[in-house]
Symmetry: C3
Subunit: 169 residues, 3 copies
């Protein structure tokens, strides 16, 4: 926290921070673009975990998740399935990811926490808050020099997010 | 994306990133301050373009915009006109601009993309989501060393933003 | 604003900016965690001021605040009192703090401004906007090398924020 100390420690930390901020900017850009839904799983590692769960389950350590995928392959399956669903009214989703914190984890991983709000807009209706919560993620830089999610845990403030199965959080 | 590469490339990129983040912090501060509405056009270049259009129009390449101004002068006229309108209930607008991405464009321009949410608060009513969407902007550093918008394209998630003619987005 | 100038001036400013961004990331993390409510006053200096007031009062210079605490001790009392209130329906709060600006103030203080939105989620109800507004703060680095709030002024866009007495803003 001491500015002088931070300054001396700056280069590595700063490069990390920038890479992480850029990652989330890219994440939200892709997550909210229906035309690039197939690209979304590529933001995860091959063994990437994706879990969406209510805050209570997280706090109590309950493993029960609303959504769970255990690999990039499962995420790709999810995307294919979601694209086959035409019963939902078309809508636009918009993520805001803010107040990102990152720290070094084990095995070269980067642990991050961030606040998010996702807004939903349906045709001819006012935009509304779809979901809010915390990301509790682990990122890793792979051999191609690209940061990817090894774990993306979406802790929801709400128990009920009806279409969370269809839209990336 | 490789932290080591980023680090070597850091100085210029970092200065740019900081200048761009500061620009948007200043943008929202002015856009949301009714007392400084006249200053808002000064955030644009003399030939600055301002367009507000629904996402569908943007995606389809349709030129139709809900709001369009072709110069700083037109923006100043808009502001004068808006200040003459007293038929609207007083309200406070609040922008959150997040997940800013920037890259070098042609002719020294900086191309930026950012997510935004604007909230509206009327007296004695709860705050609500006014609009969400993406900025797709071109910034340029002018000879006075100040960054300004050569193009500010506001791609709305919603088709209908009733007072978007009156309030800066 | 000139990138080249900024670059030369970078080290100190950048360390400051990073420390301030980290401060607010930590602030929202603690403010939104009911389990860490007692830690919230520790984000203030011993003589830290906390005020929540509507925008109109701020603009007119009226001293009237919805909430006012004049020291860390008073904040601790507030927290204890809030924890004794069981009449409210349980809910989760979520802050997004964005577009932070900081500048050097007098006596080593850092003056900051930031936009915020706070969302509220009650069980079995959709999340909603709780409050939006501006922070107008003064931070100071104390002898332990930690940044703390000497003044945290929450200027609300709304006059009416019913539970603002209970939840940290």
């Amino acid at each position: 926290m001491d500015p002088a100390t931070q300054l001396r420690a700056l280069p590595d930390d700063l490069a990390l921070r920038i890479a992480v901020e850029d990652f989330y900017a890219r994440y939200v850009e892709i997550a909210d673009d229906p035309q690039r839904l197939e690209v979304w799983p590529d933001l995860f590692t091959e063994d990437g975990q994706y879990r969406v769960l209510p805050q209570e389950n997280w706090q109590q350590g309950w493993p029960l998740a609303l959504v769970r995928a255990e690999s990039r392959g499962m995420l790709k399956d999810r995307v294919s399935a979601a694209q086959g669903i035409n019963t939902y009214t078309p809508r636009v989703m918009r993520h805001l990811v803010s107040n990102i914190r990152c720290s070094g984890g084990s095995e070269g991983e980067i642990e991050t926490k961030a606040c998010f709000a996702v807004f939903e807009t349906m045709i001819d209706e006012p935009s509304r808050v779809f979901a809010t919560g915390l990301y509790r993620d682990r990122l890793v830089e792979e051999t191609d020099g690209v940061l990817r999610l090894r774990e993306h845990i979406v802790v929801l403030d709400n128990d009920l997010v009806p279409n969370s199965i269809v839209y990336p959080l």
